[in-house]
C-alpha cells in the first residue's frame, strides 16, 4: 500500500516536457545521483538547490510530455520527490511512474512554492492551506501495480 505523504510544494506550470526535466545531453547515464542535479536546469537553474527529500511536485496540464526517457522519472526519484500532483500527465511519463513506483495524483490545486501539503491515500484527499481536494482513485488494475511498488514486483508476484 502507498503510505500517506507530507511534503512541501514545488510548483511548476503546464506542458513540462521531458527535455526540460532532464536534457538529452545527460542521457548517457541512468545513474539517479548523476541525473538529479540537472532537473529543470534550463528553465530554473536554482531549483534543485531548493528541493528537499520528500517534496511534492505540483504541476499543470500534460506533465512529462515528450520523449519516453525513463530518465525523467529516475531524475525525479533521485531528488527524493515523494509524489507528483498534476492536472494531467502525458502518457509515457504516467506509465513510467506507475511502473517504477512513484505516486501520481491527477488533481488541480492552488498552492504556492513550499506550501505544506499532505496526501491521505486511504480517502483520496489532498490537504493544503486549510483546503481539501479529493482525487479519483486509480482503477483496480493500476492499484495492483502501485500496491506492489512497481511493475517488476507485480510480475514477480505471479499475478501477471
Amino acid at each position: 500500500m502507498i503510505n500517506n505523504i507530507k511534503g512541501r510544494a514545488i510548483v511548476l506550470g503546464d506542458n513540462v516536457d521531458t527535455d526540460q526535466i532532464i536534457p538529452a545531453k545527460y542521457l548517457n547515464t541512468s545513474d539517479p545521483g548523476k541525473l538529479a542535479p540537472h532537473f529543470m536546469e534550463n528553465e530554473y537553474p536554482d531549483l534543485v538547490s531548493n528541493i528537499k527529500k520528500g517534496d511534492i511536485i505540483v504541476a499543470g496540464k500534460n506533465f512529462g510530455s515528450g520523449s519516453s526517457r525513463e530518465h525523467a522519472v529516475i531524475t525525479i526519484k533521485g531528488l527524493g520527490i515523494s509524489c507528483i500532483i498534476a492536472e494531467s500527465f502525458a502518457r509515457i511519463f504516467f506509465r513510467n511512474a506507475i511502473n517504477t513506483g512513484i505516486p501520481l495524483i491527477e488533481a488541480k490545486i492552488n498552492v504556492s512554492e513550499f506550501d505544506e501539503i499532505s496526501v491521505d491515500f486511504s480517502n483520496s484527499t489532498i490537504m493544503y492551506n486549510g483546503n481539501e481536494t479529493h482525487f479519483k482513485e486509480y482503477p483496480e488494475f493500476l492499484k495492483n501495480i502501485i500496491n506492489s511498488n512497481g511493475l517488476i514486483n507485480y510480475v514477480r508476484s505471479g499475478k501477471w
Binding site: S68, R69, I152, V155
Partner: protein, 413 residues
C-alpha cells in the same frame, strides 16, 4: 459490436472482447529499444531473472551512435552484449539506422501487429496499419522477459482527410496543421486514425504524419491499409500479417474534418510543434538547416532536398546538415548521386544517427543560434543551448532556407 481498429487489435492480442477504456494484458508482437532506453530495460529484465523472448526483441542503437563519449560507448556496448548474448534481432552501425526507420524497412512493422517501443516516436508504424506505441524502459524489459504488457485500450480520434493537397504541401505540413488544431496533449492517451483521401499521401509522408502524432500526446496512430501500403510491404520481408480496419459505425471519441486543399506549406515556430504559421510568414535568419530523423530523413526527403540544392550553393552563413534515417537510405542516396549533389552545394552529409535532433551531438546549437529542421520537436533547448531556437518544416523548406540564409520557401529561389 462495432469496434475501432485499435479496439480490434488490442482485443485480439489480449484474447478478450474489449473496448476503449478497458485495461488488458496483451501479447506484443515485437518490442524495440535503442541505446538510450535498452540499458535500463536490460536492468529490469535482469531483475526478473527470466529467459528472453529473443525472437520478439529488436535492439537498434541510434541516439548516440557512433558513440559520442565513453558513457555512450558503455550504453551501446551494454545494448549490444545483451542482443548478442540472447540472440535477439540487432542492427548495428553499418546495417541499422534510426530505430523507427529500421523497424519499417526491415519488415517488423506490418498491418494488425501490436508493437511496443522504448521510444516515444514508436507511433510511426501506424503508417503501415500497425498499432505501435512508445513506452518506458522498465516495461520494455518486462516484455523482453514475458512477451506481454498492460495497456489501457485507447479511444480513437478519427481525422477525416478530404480534398487534395496543393503542390508543395507535404505530409509534414498536413500533420503540423492538425497539431495546430489538436494541440500538444490534445490527443493524450488516444489513437489518431487517419481516413478519407489517404491515397493522395505517399507512405513516406504517412510515416511523417504518424510519427508526429506523438506531439499531440497520442498513444498510437493508424492509417488504413491500401495499395500504397501493400506495395511498400511487398518490398520487405514482413512475414504474415492481418489487415484490420475500423468499423464504419465504430465509437470514435472525436471526428476532425480536414480539407487538405486548404493547407499551405507550414512552419512550427518555437517552442512547440503545435505553434504553427504559414511558411511565407516566417523569415528569420538561420545558422543551421537540418534534414534528418525518423520524421523526415527518408530517401524521398533527401531527393527533395537534392532537387532544390542542385546547381545552387548553401548560404555562406549557414551549416546545412543532411543525416539519412538509415544505412539503407544512405546507400540509396549514394547510388542516386544525391550525396554528390548535396556535398557540391556546400552541405554536410553524415552517416545515420539521431544525433542533433535531440541535441545529443553532431550539430548541437550554441547560444542564440537558430535552426530550421525537418525533425519533430522544437522545445526549449531541444537541439542545444536553452537560448537557441528550432523551427520545424518539411525538407523542401529546410533546403530552400539553407540556400536563402533565412527561413523561406522553394518558390523564392
Amino acid at each position: 459490436m462495432s469496434k475501432t481498429a485499435a479496439e480490434k487489435i488490442f482485443s485480439e492480442k489480449s484474447g478478450t472482447d474489449s473496448k476503449s477504456g478497458d485495461y488488458v494484458v496483451a501479447n506484443v508482437d515485437y518490442v524495440m529499444a535503442n541505446d538510450i532506453t535498452a540499458p535500463i530495460a536490460i536492468d529490469a529484465f535482469n531483475e526478473l531473472g527470466m529467459k528472453a523472448k529473443s525472437d520478439k526483441i529488436i535492439i537498434i542503437p541510434d541516439h548516440f551512435i557512433p558513440p559520442k563519449d565513453i558513457n555512450s560507448a558503455i550504453q551501446y556496448k551494454k545494448s549490444k552484449d545483451f542482443a548478442l548474448e540472447n540472440g535477439t534481432w540487432f542492427y548495428d552501425m553499418g546495417s541499422g539506422g534510426v530505430c523507427h526507420q529500421v523497424m519499417m524497412e526491415k519488415g517488423f512493422a506490418a498491418p494488425g501487429r501490436l508493437i511496443a517501443g522504448a521510444d516515444s516516436h514508436t507511433n510511426t508504424y501506424g503508417a503501415l496499419s500497425a498499432i505501435s506505441t512508445g513506452m518506458g524502459s522498465t516495461e520494455a524489459g518486462v516484455i523482453f522477459a514475458t512477451g506481454k504488457m498492460w495497456f489501457k485500450i485507447p479511444e480513437t480520434i478519427k481525422i477525416n482527410l478530404r480534398g487534395k493537397p496543393k503542390k508543395g504541401v507535404e505530409g509534414k505540413d498536413i500533420i503540423l496543421n492538425i497539431l495546430s488544431t489538436i494541440k500538444n496533449g490534445g490527443a493524450a492517451y488516444k489513437c489518431m486514425e487517419f481516413s478519407g483521401n489517404i491515397n493522395y499521401i505517399d507512405i513516406n509522408e504517412r510515416m511523417t504524419m504518424a510519427n508526429m502524432t506523438t506531439e499531440a500526446g497520442a498513444k498510437c496512430s493508424f492509417f488504413d491499409t491500401d495499395d500504397k501500403t501493400i506495395e511498400y510491404l511487398n518490398q520487405r520481408n514482413t512475414g504474415d500479417y492481418k489487415i484490420v480496419k475500423s468499423d464504419e459505425n465504430a465509437d470514435f471519441s472525436r471526428i476532425i474534418e480536414v480539407d487538405m486543399g486548404d493547407i499551405e506549406p507550414s512552419i512550427a515556430i518555437p517552442n512547440s510543434p503545435d505553434n504553427v504559421r504559414i511558411a511565407t510568414a516566417v523569415h528569420e535568419k538561420i545558422d543551421q538547416a537540418y534534414i534528418g530523423s525518423c520524421t523526415n530523413g527518408r530517401i524521398e526527403d533527401i531527393r527533395k532536398a537534392a532537387a532544390i540544392l542542385k546547381n545552387k550553393k548553401v548560404n555562406k552563413n549557414v551549416r546545412l546538415m543532411v543525416v539519412p534515417a538509415s544505412q539503407d537510405v544512405y546507400n540509396q542516396a549514394l547510388k542516386e548521386g544525391l550525396i554528390n549533389t548535396i556535398v557540391e552545394s556546400g552541405g554536410y552529409f553524415s552517416g545515420t544517427t539521431c544525433g542533433a535532433c535531440l541535441g545529443g551531438y553532431m550539430g548541437v546549437l550554441g547560444p542564440g543560434e537558430v535552426c530550421i529542421s525537418s525533425t519533430n520537436r522544437n522545445f526549449i533547448g531541444r537541439m542545444g543551448d536553452k537560448s537557441s531556437k528550432v523551427y520545424l518544416a518539411n525538407p523542401s523548406i529546410v533546403a530552400a532556407s539553407a540556400v536563402l540564409g533565412r527561413i523561406g520557401t522553394p518558390e523564392e529561389l
